[in-house]
Symmetry: C2
Subunit: 110 residues, 2 copies
């Protein structure tokens, strides 16, 4: 099976989930789709990665969840970013920026 989609690096997933939720409440499956769509199909989050991550994130208080009726008439568990989660998102984005910068510095070396 072709693997043209980039594997995630450990640590980026939380940030992506938080970012997806910062655009509005969403259920798990929808988070996957939103990330895929926003990244132009470049990032594909597996369910086996997402649900454990959502559980972790909820335990940390970065999101809350509640069951609601989906527009399709089916039930789905909607996740919502907390204020603390929003702060976390900012922190993780800042860390990511630092890392990208640092790697860029190393790479531009001749």
């Amino acid at each position: 099976m072709a693997k043209d989609k980039a594997d995630l690096l450990q640590g980026t997933l939380d940030m992506l989930i938080l970012k997806a939720l910062s655009l509005g409440e969403l259920h798990g499956y929808g988070i996957i789709q939103r990330i895929r769509q926003l990244s132009d199909e470049m990032l594909n989050v597996e369910q086996g990665s997402l649900y454990p991550a959502l559980y972790r994130i909820e335990q940390k208080g970065w999101v809350t969840s509640k069951w609601s009726v989906h527009d399709t008439g089916r039930d789905a568990k909607f996740y919502k970013l907390t204020r603390f989660g929003r702060k976390q998102l900012e922190d993780q984005e800042a860390s990511w920026d630092r890392l990208v910068l640092a790697v860029a510095k190393v790479r531009q070396a001749t």
Copy 2:
């Protein structure tokens, strides 16, 4: 102990090591210093991360090693990038670029 230095993300270490070695043969301890210096002290590779990584990388044939006399008069194990390792470096840099781009796309979403 203050932790202002970014923890590496899994997967970036190999690339950094290969990049460091692409600038010339070097021994383990020197690789750590070179990465730290090139990144303006932002990246600090732990020895407990480096040596297992070097072992893995050598097993894969990306580098070769040989014991030589260091300029200080002491022995040190010098690692050298192979042609295959150089190809790997290019691949990993390309993957890194794709990931950074993909994350940027997600992040610029409103």
